[in-house]
């Protein structure tokens, strides 16, 4: 066996062991996933928070604060905001949600069913069709309530983790560079620059993507709340809980294509339930409001704040939302698109690295040249 064949043989053996190890890791991940799901969700939330808060910390650091002190100040600010939210906003939102659930459970199916039945009887003279439609609506309504319950349970576990998440966030902001340095120190020399470059580029793009999505959601939420507030004033309380509904619309906006529609549905449904005197006009204004908010988002906000490198095909969005829902319920559906965005960034950067770095051979540079 000459030296070249020997090196080739050892290369193949190395690749085989790496594939074997990768399969083992994937299998272990699948087996342990249900046990670590909650911890994982907690870390993802802490990760998101650290990405969102880092610019503020960096900015304080650049104006002369020590990093530890800067993080502490930002964390205190966030804690103050949280305390303020608990004291002022959260009870109102919880009250809104409770009132909404009670209203939904007591009225939605029967009231809405009766309305649909009378509508069909009046216009189509077909009570059978009306009963079929209401029966189907019953099923959809129950499913929606089930999803809402699941979502609230997720929120409950989030509230339970509220002590741990800030601690994890603190260390993620403080020691991210150290974690990266330790991680990269374990990479063999051959892949060192490639890994470092990919790690930085991926980190930058993911940060930009998450920050962009957060700003976008915040602005869409604020615009929706203002719009619904105006409709509420003009049509005298026709859209109750507009802060909650507007906030949900902002949150739903994270999901492209589907999000804006999902965001508008609660406002329309609540207006129908509330049944104000000029219902068709109110519905029309709500639809116009969400179209205008989307137009402003697409023309002004998104192009400025949301990274274009993670554009996704509508079909991809639908598939990942279904998968996200299967894995982690409503929270999974919400996180599915950002998670896929992150994966897309990682894959594109790895692909860029493999195309641009000459790492095809692990042989020493000089040996490589002498083999040519």
């Amino acid at each position: 066996m000459d030296s070249y064949t020997f090196q080739l043989y050892s290369q193949i053996l190395k690749i085989f062991w790496r594939i074997f190890l990768a399969i083992l890791i994937i299998l272990a991940a699948i087996v342990f996933f249900p046990y670590v799901k909650d911890v994982l969700v907690m870390f993802i939330i802490a990760g998101l928070l650290s990405v969102l808060l880092s610019p503020l910390v960096d900015s304080l650091e650049s104006s002369g604060f020590k990093r530890g002190m800067a993080i502490l100040l930002v964390m205190l600010l966030i804690l103050a905001l949280l305390a303020f939210s608990f004291w002022l906003i959260i009870p109102r939102i919880i009250h809104s949600v409770e009132a909404l659930i009670t209203k939904l459970q007591s009225n939605i199916i029967s009231d809405f069913g009766q309305k649909v039945e009378s509508f069909f009887e009046k216009h189509f003279h077909n009570p059978e069709l009306a009963r079929n439609v209401t029966a189907r609506l019953d099923v959809i309504g129950l499913r929606l309530l089930g999803s809402l319950e699941g979502f609230l349970k997720s929120v409950g576990s989030f509230l339970a983790s509220i002590v741990i998440i800030p601690v994890v966030t603190f260390f993620l902001i403080k020691d991210t560079r150290r974690f990266k340095k330790t991680l990269i120190s374990m990479v063999p020399n051959q892949y060192f620059e490639l890994s470092l470059n990919i790690l930085h580029k991926t980190g930058n793009q993911i940060t930009k993507y998450i920050q962009g999505q957060a700003i976008d959601a915040l602005l869409v939420g604020i615009l929706s709340i203002i719009g619904l507030f105006i409709i509420n004033i003009v049509f005298s309380g026709s859209v109750p809980y507009f802060v909650l509904i507007g906030g949900l619309a902002g949150l739903a906006n994270v999901i492209p294509y589907i999000g804006p529609i999902v965001g508008a549905i609660p406002a329309l449904a609540l207006a129908i339930l509330n049944n104000p005197p000029q219902l068709p006009l109110v519905l029309l204004w709500i639809v116009i409001l969400f179209i205008v908010v989307q137009a402003i988002d697409n023309a002004l906000i998104s192009p400025l704040v949301v990274s274009k490198s993670v554009n996704m095909h509508p079909l991809t969005v639908i598939i990942v939302i279904i998968i996200g829902g299967k894995i982690a319920g409503a929270l999974g559906m919400l996180l599915a698109v950002p998670f896929t965005g992150v994966m897309k960034v990682i894959l594109s950067q790895v692909s860029w690295g493999l195309r641009n770095y000459k790492i095809s051979s692990s042989l020493k540079l000089r040996d490589t040249f002498s083999l040519r």
Partner: protein, 169 residues
């Protein structure tokens, strides 16, 4: 003959010191930094060990940053299309290379190979840019020092070009 571009004044030699802090002090880019500022640099650099004949950077790879030799010896080599190697410089303890990659991602113009088992410190553009954002005063000091080195190198290249043109006449 001393290479005018890869010469000793650019890759300044220093005494053998294993301590990263001490080595950093010897590098012109960090020459004007205070002890406290050097500690900040020490936090973001990467210490690596290379075996004899192992490549540290390869010609054509995207530039990522500079390396400072802590211990050992590194050759900067250029390989042309016919695969013939040309040694541009032999560097030793305290010397540095790849500093232009701190400014942009242009492909490496030459390869660097460890001639003996070597220890190097890597200082990379993403960490540097992050430092410029977080600690602007420190970042400006390094950028100015880097500009001086690039300016000096450009001046010497111009002198060499003028000399060649003079010889042709």
């Amino acid at each position: 003959m001393e290479n005018p571009i890869w010469g000793d004044s650019i890759f300044r030699k220093s005494k053998k010191k294993e301590d990263i802090f001490a080595v950093l002090k010897q590098v012109p880019i960090f020459a004007d930094l205070s002890a406290r500022e050097l500690v900040e640099i020490e936090k973001i650099v990467h210490k690596r060990k290379y075996k004899k004949s192992e490549p540290i950077i390869r010609k054509g790879d995207p530039g990522l940053g500079m390396y400072i030799i802590v211990k050992g010896s590194v050759e900067i080599i250029d390989i042309d299309e016919k695969n013939s190697e040309k040694t541009l410089a032999s560097l030793h303890d305290g010397s540095f290379f790849g500093d232009l990659a701190l400014l942009d991602e242009a492909p490496r113009s030459a390869s660097a190979i460890a001639m003996v088992d070597s220890e190097v410190i890597g200082f990379f553009r993403p960490d540097f840019l992050d430092l410029v954002y977080r600690k602007p005063k420190l970042g400006i000091k390094i950028l100015l020092a880097l500009a001086k080195i690039v300016g000096e190198r450009l001046r010497r290249t111009n002198e060499l070009l003028a000399q060649i043109q003079e010889e042709k006449k």
